[in-house]
Amino acid sequence: MTSPSASPASFWPPAALRGGTRAPLRLARLTGAAAAVVAAYLLFRGTATLPHDDDAAPFRFVGDARDWVDANRNESPVFLFLVNYVRLLVGGLHDALHLVPQVLGWAGTTGLAGALGWLAGGGRVAAVALAGFASFGVLGVWRESADTLTLVLAAVLLSLLLGLPLGVWAGRSVRLRRLLTPVLDVMQIMPTFAYLAPMVVFFQIGPASATVATLVYSIPPAIRITALAVDRVPHVAVEASTALGATRWQTLRKVHLPVARATVALAVNQTFMMALSMVVIAALIAAPGLGSGIVTGLSRADVGLMLPAGVAIVVMAVVLDRMTTAAATREPSARGRIAAATAILLCGVVAARFLPAEFPENWVLRLAGPVNEVVDWVKSSWYGVTAVARDVTTEALLNPLQEVLTTAPWWLVAAVVFVSAWRGGGYGPALVAVGCLLATALLGLWQHTMETLTTVLAGVAPALAAGLVLGVAAARSRRFAAVQRPLLDAAQTMPPFVYLLPALALFGATRFTAVLASVVYAVPPVVRLVEDGIGGVSPAVVEAARSCGSTERQVLWKVRLPMARKAILLAANQGIVMTLAMVVVGGLVGAGGLGYDVVSGFSRRADFGMGFAAGLATVLVGITLDRITRGAAERPARKVPRQFPESLTEGRGSHEDRT
């Protein structure tokens, strides 16, 4: 089945895993290719590099487009009749929703949350909601939490309003799905940061603009998962309905939607989660709320300031997650449930009459002081260790790798990419991968793309290794899996910025910090996919191997891992895309390359063009990496996505099945 050379180290590059009886030959060929690349590099090092120019033509072109918008905001009908109306409407919705917590006060709003929790899932969910909302006050961020909740609700409402119909439509029309898939792909790979600068150009800053940015980020899962749900409704049911003379509309309402309900509820859940993870970034364009605490904390390197806001975001994510998940699985609501919900709401409203509208000061837990003391202690007593870890990694890994990638001729890099993608997936993916990579050069961002690639590669290896070890452990021991699962849940609901906090405190603003944060961010999905894949290996095969006298170790290496190859390669694919997403966020804390270009394009008007181009370049790099790894995984296993990138493969897979 497999060869002894299939050690974990050779999962990367994935093609190496295809080992069979001809493994020695393959190995020889691989070595030969590697030697050729090294020789070519040594021969041509420093030639045909494409050094960075801050004033490249594409940047200027985008900058000019921005100036045109600026000049025509009050003349051009596009603005008078479209963009400005959108802003007005979105702003109106946001302000209307904002009235709710203002009128109800903190006690009333908490009561409302509890009531909704009860309606959604009964006593336990109601308790989670009540405790969660009360904790916002205790953390001292009640008002910020209310602002954030308003923004999230406004964005999610709009996302669902637009996304669900579009999704239903896309679920029934292959053509629309084909049209939407690449658009949604770009929306999801585009670093969130890269939305902001164009958002500012069109909608300027403020809550309305932030709501639109959040909407753009959170709408893809609404469309995708709904489309998937509608598409998966069994043909038999649809045909039966049509045969009985139902109209298209009746079939949709009475067959498609009820059958797809649970999955559509998942779409709602995912839309909420995506919207929440945008909250921090939206603070950069003056969205009120929790995000601003984190942004301020980042700029002052004050962990104590960030922590309450970060915890509140996680709590909010948990509450919303529980409520929407419960709503998906509940039975039709009983009358007693409505009565209980009303009772909770009334309690809240009555309490609000007697309690002050502001959360009482002396109920607040002040965390900043003690937290900062701990951080300071860790910093001063571990400084030696952290500094050495950082410097050694940077000098021994990041710098040489970056040196190689930036001094290699562009054609050599392109050739390596082409061959890796071709070995995995054939000519199609290889051409796409190389085309996207070279397009970054046309954008004038080759060198920065190579720098970003360095940090991604450095992050991917440890993320995959850790994910693999944890995933295998979870697949083998049920108890370990049970302990790990809630941790993974928490890690995946946390907005990516929160990962930056501890890394920043310990290691300062460097590339190493960004790499570290991206590893932490990418591990959970890898673990899940690996665990799933290994758990999915047929027990009969495992039994057969055991009865032949294999040790547990042999079963793992020779049976489980090789048989879960597809899932593991998909995990690698996901790990890479996640790492890329985080490395861009790392532009805020010292990662150079495209991430920094995007950040600086946002905060400096003169760099607008470069920032925008860098956002596009990130998408291109994402596609390149995706094609290299996805080809190897062939058609990936079906997984319902928790976070964005998995869903890239979803829509596509499903319509391919159909056609």
Binding site: R87, Q204, S603, R605
Partner: protein
């Protein structure tokens, strides 16, 4: 501009379709969703450095406690703040560092902002080293000798070159052009924040580690850490006009306040107070020092200063 024409053409068709019906919406102050329910709210942008926070803190304190306004603070990067003038999301930028290009766009061309006078603070950006380095290598303070010492500043982030530590990505910066045009063997490394710069400077003095970094005056740090400024080619009028070709030091700036036109026209006493606000670098440093080092909140530090300096601020309160 060709794109412009095409979009306009397309837009023209749209106009024809819509013009009869409704009038379209302009981006005007007043059309904003962020518009307050009353005129008693002032929105102040807070840029990410502590000196700015000190000025904003004192103005906020006076507006709230002496004039009865409500202040909304918005944590924003410098250039992003200006985007808020048009629709009323930002009324006041308290401490503006030059930004002639923004003034041209927002004050002259788009006419959404106006200048509201000096803060009284003199601001100057420069490159600094800890004093022990200047004592040990006396000629290091001349930029011409920086290449000789570049290896001292090398870190794992700067590769083979010397490191020039920079602050928040949004800060005013000529660093890349300076390094290129003065042919320095340095690399800009972005620390990400003011706090990171301060921490590095403090460590550089305490542990006698070499450091070359971007910093600015007024700042409380100068009273705690001995720093020496590197002499770059002296600033002359217009030498920094083309950002690509800058090869001279930063100018000493008269830091000023910028307000939205809407606020200047209808801000009443709040606008008057902002306009009158003017204090010394020492005053700002004192408040900033309390915030950064004495564990005071911005509000407490501002109250302390206001209580001790009535003679200064009473002149700002409009009659």
């Amino acid at each position: 501009m060709r794109i412009g024409r095409r979009v306009r053409l397309l837009a023209g068709v749209l106009t024809l379709a819509l013009a009869s019906g409704c009038g379209g919406v302009r981006v005007e102050p007043g059309a904003s969703s962020a518009q307050p329910s009353s005129d008693r709210t002032v929105r102040i942008a807070v840029n990410p450095w502590v000196g700015y926070e000190a000025s904003a803190g004192v103005i906020t304190y006076l507006l709230e406690k002496k004039l009865g306004y409500t202040v909304e603070k918005k944590e924003l990067a410098e250039q992003v703040s200006w985007e808020g003038f048009e629709k009323g999301d930002v009324d006041v930028v308290v401490e503006n560092w030059g930004h002639e290009e923004l003034k041209k766009t927002f004050i002259q061309d788009r006419k959404v902002a106006v200048e509201a006078g000096s803060t009284g603070n003199k601001g100057v950006i420069g490159w600094y080293i800890p004093k022990w380095m200047a004592d040990k290598y006396p000629d290091i303070t001349d930029y011409r000798n920086l290449n000789k010492y570049a290896s001292l500043f090398r870190t794992s982030e700067s590769g083979q070159k010397g490191q020039l530590l920079f602050g928040d990505p949004s800060y005013v910066s000529n660093e890349d052009a300076l390094i290129k045009n003065l042919r320095l063997n340095l690399k800009v490394v972005v620390a990400g924040s003011e706090a990171a710069l301060i921490e590095s400077a403090t460590q550089a003095q305490r542990q006698r580690r070499p450091l070359l970094f971007y910093f600015w005056d007024p700042h409380w740090l100068f009273s705690r850490v001995d720093l020496v400024r590197i002499a770059l080619p002296p600033h002359t009028e217009g030498c920094d006009a083309d950002p690509e070709k800058v090869a001279c030091d930063y100018a000493e700036l008269d830091l000023d306040k910028i307000v939205s036109r809407r606020f200047a026209d209808g801000g009443g006493r709040a606008y008057q107070l902002v306009k009158n606000f003017s204090w010394t670098n020492e005053a700002q440093n004192a408040v900033a020092d309390d915030i950064a080092n004495n564990g005071m909140s911005v509000e407490d530090a501002s109250r302390k200063w206001v209580e001790a300096n009535e003679s200064v601020w009473s002149a700002w309160i409009p009659r």
